[in-house]
Symmetry: C2
């Protein structure tokens, strides 16, 4: 970590009573900093606000946040910015206090920048499943044990995760797009998984290009019928998958016009 702010003050520690630690009671965003600016900032900000509203955490002030982000980034061309917003410190007990003072954490990490020639990625299929929690599916909240345990079992950098019924949901840190008979499909994120900002960029790009994506429940077995599979993430960008669990069936297609149009915007501030 090359820099951090806690509620606007330089600092690298947090109260033991913070509910982020006690219960995972908060949200986060992981953001690519490219040419000194937070990529896809509007999308990250909107997801963070939506999360605050759904969890009942008072929303941070946008102007304050943007000033702090700019100050922390300084003149670094490339970095990873992580924003954490928690429900703040409280005495013991699950029940939130009557008056909440959220904690706003900014962390900056060194990063070499987006890959200039991303090759196709071979991924695993995780044994660890994603539990259904429709109440706050889609949010990037701090309850991430499933992803930690999934990553623990992987030998490749990324793995595909299924829900309890065996449907595709996402990678441990990315979203999925399948190409089936030339058309894009992506798992619906209504019971588990994170609704990624690059995923939303792809969906919007596809609408604009009049090649809409089908958002639906997708069984794992449909991977075998797919011509192509792409991962999307704020740091990876848009990456084709060359093999799933050693099966190279999904490798054939590594380009798709919608994915290419979206990929051109992933690392821009206005994407």
């Amino acid at each position: 970590m090359i820099g951090s702010l806690v509620n606007g003050q330089a600092g690298s520690s947090l109260s033991l009573l913070d509910r982020g630690l006690q219960y995972g009671d908060g949200l986060f965003e992981t953001i690519a900093v490219v040419e000194r600016r937070a990529a896809l900032w509007q999308r990250h900000w909107e997801r963070l606000l939506l999360g605050c509203r759904l969890l009942g955490i008072p929303e941070p002030d946008r102007e304050v946040m943007e000033q702090e982000v700019a100050g922390l980034i300084g003149d670094r061309s490339f970095a990873v910015l992580k924003i954490i917003v928690t429900r703040g410190a409280s005495e013991r007990g699950y029940r939130p206090p009557d008056r909440v003072s959220p904690t706003r954490i900014l962390e900056l990490f060194s990063w070499e920048g987006p890959s200039t020639s991303p090759g196709a990625l071979a991924v695993d299929l995780c044994r660890q499943r994603l539990g259904e929690q429709p109440g706050y599916a889609g949010l990037k909240h701090l309850n991430r044990l499933e992803q930690v345990l999934a990553q623990r079992e992987l030998s490749s950098p990324e793995g595909i995760m299924l829900d309890s019924e065996g449907n595709l949901v996402s990678g441990t840190m990315s979203n999925l797009f399948l190409v089936i008979e030339g058309r894009l499909h992506t798992p619906i994120i209504d019971r588990c998984g994170v609704a990624g900002v690059v995923r939303s960029l792809v969906l919007e790009t596809a609408r604009r290009m009049r090649q809409p994506v089908t958002v639906r429940r997708i069984e794992a077995s449909e991977l075998e019928q797919a011509e192509g599979l792409f991962l999307t993430s704020s740091l990876l960008g848009i990456v084709p998958v060359s093999a799933v669990a050693g099966q190279e069936k999904v490798v054939r297609l590594t380009h798709h016009p919608v994915m290419e149009a979206a990929a051109a915007k992933v690392f821009t501030a206005d994407g």
Copy 2:
């Protein structure tokens, strides 16, 4: 909070990079301190160790932990002790580092001690459901958003939580025992919920009294057939429920020989 130790050192803050904050990657125990001793210590310790093993977190040293606990309690007769063990600090990313240095946190809170005349409790039925996660159901891990959101909606101190299929699981901070035709039943904790230490004390007490408890899937509608309902928790002890969601049907029975035998041990170090 009246005292705290982080890895044996007095302190009230934690690294921003700790995985307990970043991902809820850890475990906790909430323990009644009665007459200067940690009640049900063996049971709390065993659950903590089981959690470490299942999550792959190196186990803390028992002797070190017990010395720190005794030092922190000092000469306080009554207190609440909270132990948190996380996978420690790491750089960004879900994947645990190759070499893990767990963080061991002890927090002591003031407490008036167990209620000397616990009355029956009226509880709510929570709208917030518990998602199924069989991989680590039963553990007292740090991913507790469900309990936080459940507590947020309650007007009474405690509420009963159901799984996604509508089966009884637990309270937000307690386990459940139903009395049906004179016999004890408790929800099976194999897909969600916490396997409480007082729950384990009741199960063991029942076996010893040759009145075994039926551990099974229990539908919410069975509450209506129950003569009695009890909550168990390390701080509440064993408490009869007088009404669920305003329905006083389950109120009739407030005593049961097994529950009374177990209640006599809840606040003892050797229970």
